[in-house]
């Protein structure tokens, strides 16, 4: 169907199925739901900015409304675009700190042990709440002592030996908090005969900048990434692969839909790690050697919202199924509630935890050893709210290799 109105908002028949699937509307009566916040509200806002409703800030941009919509309306995009266009709220210190993952990360990794220890202290978390309105119950992800990028630089020669290459978009989380995931990705790719290289220049994908109101900065960073990816994908003909489902989604869709940037020529080159690996394993030319002695583990897979929006959840699930020592439990697809930086904000904490509660209960009831998911913020939320450890499917795969 040819798209005539921005985000297809005119195609809405008002069936309201989006609101039925909205995790926020289900737990927070202050949020009118995606139908009203999105296409309904857009009609009013076309008349005047005065009809912009501050409750749109309660949208966690999970895009489950878009997955549910039978009319292909980009409801989540309508809401986020309206926030960008009409919100008069200026981002503050909290938004700055949460959004600038690159800047904060590069400082924190230098003094990681101190930062981790300090942020772990209860009195400090209360001060953070008082000063920045970040909920004191929220546990911060630990920072790594040294970045993934610095580790990768040491591997450059060795990785260059592989005839086939992929460019890896690692994202801030792998770089500053969890280099082992990046290392696991390198291990898996090497086992498949691929060398891994970094992009010329990688910036934070910008998802946190967008949701915290720093659109201009997000655009600048996005342009840097688009240029780097273009060089890798178009000039050097390399697949670009990311482990984070949210980074992947942002690079592919949000750049164009929310920031208005042209990424059409590179969009199809941006791939998610699980999909890339699974596709290779299916082509008949690639195999992996698994460790026969690996301990049997029961893994519960949680599908992140943005992965659902990409429509790629089955790749992660099928990949996990290929691992001989994994006994897979598929959790019902639902939002964990954190939505990136959303759940860190004091005013959203209760909403965030109420949204996640059914998932937390399902995880505990699954009697799994480990939870698997493709999204780092889902991992933080689940680790904070359940007794389980959370790993990326690629980490589980890497650990099971011979």
């Amino acid at each position: 169907m040819k798209q005539y109105s921005e985000n297809n908002f005119e195609q809405c028949t008002k069936c309201t199925v989006c609101t039925v699937y909205c995790p926020v509307a289900a737990v927070n009566p202050l949020y009118p739901g995606p139908k009203q916040a999105g296409p309904d509200g857009e009609r009013l806002r076309m008349k005047s900015s005065e009809f912009y409703d501050q409750s749109l800030a309660l949208c966690l941009n999970c895009k489950r409304c878009e997955v549910a919509c039978p009319s292909d309306v980009r409801i989540g995009d309508i809401i986020q675009s309206a926030r960008i266009k009409h919100s008069t709220k200026k981002p503050g210190l909290r938004e700055f700190t949460l959004a600038n993952t690159d800047l904060v990360g590069s400082v924190a990794t230098v003094v990681a042990p101190v930062v981790n220890a300090t942020l772990g202290l209860k009195p400090v978390r209360h001060i953070v709440e008082g000063v920045m309105n970040i909920d004191h119950r929220r546990i911060f992800p630990k920072y790594a002592f040294g970045t993934f990028e610095s580790w990768m630089r040491k591997q450059r020669k060795e990785q260059a030996l592989f005839a086939k290459q992929v460019a890896y978009f690692h994202g801030c989380y792998v770089n500053y908090n969890n280099p082992p995931l990046g290392q696991a990705f390198v291990k898996v790719m090497n086992a498949l005969g691929y060398g891994v290289q970094l992009l010329d220049k990688e910036k934070c994908c910008g998802v946190a900048l967008i949701s915290n109101g720093f659109v201009n900065k997000a655009k600048k960073q996005a342009q840097v990434n688009i240029n780097s990816i273009r060089k890798a994908a178009v000039e050097n003909n390399l697949p670009v692969v990311a482990t984070s489902s949210t980074c992947t989604f942002t690079l592919r869709d949000e750049y164009h839909h929310l920031l208005g940037l042209d990424n059409a020529d590179i969009r199809e080159s941006i791939n998610l790690a699980t999909k890339f690996v699974y596709t290779l394993l299916c082509d008949g030319n690639h195999t992996l050697k698994f460790n026969p002695d690996a301990a049997r583990i029961r893994v519960a897979y949680h599908s992140p919202c943005h992965l659902e929006r990409l429509g790629w959840t089955p790749y992660s699930i099928e990949l996990l199924k290929l691992i001989p020592n994994v006994e897979l439990v598929k959790l019902e697809s639902q939002c964990c509630g954190i939505a990136g930086t959303y759940g860190f904000k004091k005013e959203n904490y209760a909403t965030s935890q109420s949204i996640g509660e059914p998932l937390f209960n399902a995880i505990e009831a699954s009697e799994c050893d480990i939870v698997a998911t493709d999204c780092e913020t889902c991992k933080w939320q689940i680790e904070m709210s359940t007794t389980k450890r959370v790993l990326h499917p690629i980490e589980i795969l890497a650990a099971s290799l011979l």
Partner: protein
């Protein structure tokens, strides 16, 4: 109810409501009688354009001058019914610029500000405008909501002592010794008959005035001219766009509330069609074809519905052929014209001049009744517009859309809407943001008796879904508020859905057809509304 009045006004359009209000403000005891709801005739079936008068400037200086004067008055007295969108008259390559010079000159002569701007400025002012335009003129057009305007006049008339009967049909004029002395009416719902008497009876029935006059043995030569219009799903333009050429079909695009309207066509129709107007395929084609010359986006914007009204054009009395038509105001004192005392007809004119039409009529009434009272309707603010900006303050982060919408619709009267509890704030109509509180206010204070009336007062069901989602909720709230039986509520719902579909059917393709499918699936498939037993259970 008092059965003796000074004046009985027949017809609840803008003109009749204006006459009732003018009478009431001058201390004349008036009764207004309307066979349906208020604003159901031509009043509710036009563009909702607050004419600057520019359209008439070249050919009809008198109408143009009346328009601009009334335009300025309405902006003041009916601020909550009017939106100052501004307007442009664009010249396309095929029009040339010859007309423009004459147009500007005529506007200025009529007292209408008209400023030529270059095409780039026009595009900056209104991005949806046809980019191939070669010239544009800025004029003080705006939009006016005829339902609100009529309702506000009715409300003020009542506040000042007038009585209003809707769903009451005048069956006969009571004529005693050559003088109209009253009316025999029937309540169209209860079928009860009654009589009312007055010194003067005013015929404000629009095109239907011909039939009423005939009841007094008077002939008025009228020509029903049908005008069809299309409603688009959202605002395409925020500035009124007109074509700078001799007035023709489909050359005005008006942003009204949350929608845009293109119109109109003009065709003669027989009198027997005036009660049930359908928009034809040819009219839809013509409106789209010409409309997209003003704003190309119309070609691919969802059309919500089509509707048509009948202009009450009056042939000049000295032209029996009926060809010489005036669009000006026509006040007929049938005593001097036809020897029938106590009977006055007000017709011709246009929505823009309803107040002036009322003023002239009531001036005549005063003269006939020997009453010395000056008209104050040009200064007295209408209810809803007395305290600008009242109630528009946002109090909660949530719900501001419904609050702002209620204020947009009812002006300062929105303060009377009970939004104190979550139940009252709950939305009945989500597209147009109509709350339970607003429905209750409309039923209680604005004389709403059924869902179609409710739509005219609140816009309930006028949005994208055309009632798919809200009609059942509204029927339930109305039934609770008015205490009607469930059979009545169901029958009410059935008529409302039928009325919505009538407007959609003329443009039922694409998304509108999908919407119609949902509507039918919900009300026929799930609720089995077609087969509902609407007799008493």
């Amino acid at each position: 109810m008092n059965k003796q009045y000074d004046v009985i006004i027949i017809g609840g359009g803008a003109t009749g409501a204006g006459v009732a209000r003018d009478c009431a403000l001058r201390g004349i005891k008036a009764l207004l009688i309307e066979r349906h709801d208020i604003a159901t005739g031509a009043t509710g079936r036009n563009h909702g354009l607050l004419h600057s008068g520019a359209r008439y400037a070249v050919n009809d200086r008198e109408s143009a001058e009346e328009c601009i004067k009334e335009n300025m008055i309405l902006r003041r007295i009916a601020a909550h019914c009017v939106e100052d969108t501004g307007g442009i008259f664009i010249s396309l390559p095929e029009d040339g610029l010859d007309f423009q010079a004459k147009f500007i000159e005529s506007c200025l002569a009529a007292g209408i500000s008209a400023e030529a701007i270059d095409p780039k400025q026009a595009i900056a002012l209104e991005p949806s405008v046809n980019p191939s335009l070669i010239g544009a003129v800025k004029v003080p057009d705006g939009s006016v909501d005829p339902f609100r305007l009529t309702a506000a006049n009715i409300l003020d008339a009542k506040l000042h002592g007038a009585d209003v009967l809707t769903y009451t049909l005048v069956e006969e004029l009571i004529i005693e010794s050559g003088k109209v002395v009253g009316v025999k009416v029937v309540d169209t719902v209860t079928k009860e008959r009654s009589e009312y008497r007055a010194s003067i009876t005013v015929n404000a029935c629009g095109i239907w005035g011909r039939d009423l006059a005939a009841k007094a043995g008077v002939t008025i030569n009228m020509l029903p001219a049908k005008g069809a219009l299309l409603v688009f799903g959202h605002r395409v333009n925020n500035v009124v766009i007109n074509r700078c050429r001799k007035p023709a079909d489909a050359d005005i695009l008006v942003p009204g509330d949350n929608i845009t309207v293109i119109g109109t066509t003009s065709s003669k129709v027989p009198f027997d069609q005036c009660d049930d107007m359908y928009v034809t395929r040819e009219e839809v084609d013509l409106l789209l074809r010409e409309g997209s010359m003003l704003a190309p986006a119309l070609n691919y914007t969802r059309i919500l519905r089509a509707y048509a009204g009948v202009r009450p054009l009056v042939a000049s009395d000295d032209d029996p052929s009926g060809r010489s038509v005036s669009r000006g105001i026509v006040v007929l004192d049938h005593a001097t014209r036809d020897g029938v005392e106590g009977f006055v007809t007000i017709t011709g004119g246009k929505l823009m001049t309803y107040r002036l039409m009322a003023e002239w009529t009531v001036d005549l009434i005063c003269k006939k009744l020997n009453i010395d009272a000056k008209c104050t309707t040009a200064e007295a603010l209408l209810p809803g517009s007395t305290t600008p900006d009242a109630g528009c303050k946002r109090t909660t982060a949530c719900f501001s859309g419904a609050k702002s919408s209620a204020f947009y619709r009812h002006g300062d009267k929105a303060q009377q809407i009970d939004h104190s509890t979550a139940a009252k704030r709950a939305l009945v109509c989500e597209c147009e943001q109509v709350s339970v509180g607003e429905v209750e206010y409309a039923v209680g204070k604005l004389g709403v008796t059924n869902l179609v009336d409710l739509r005219r007062r609140t816009r309930m069901g006028m949005g994208t879904c055309q009632g798919s989602l809200c009609a059942a909720r509204a029927a339930a709230v109305m039934a609770t508020t008015s205490g009607c039986s469930s059979a009545e509520a169901k029958s009410n719902l059935k008529s409302f859905i039928a009325e919505r579909w009538k407007g959609m059917s003329a443009v039922a393709w694409g998304d509108t057809l999908r919407e119609g499918e949902l509507l039918s699936w919900l009300y026929d498939g799930v609720c089995d509304l077609s087969n509902l037993n609407t007799t008493e259970e």
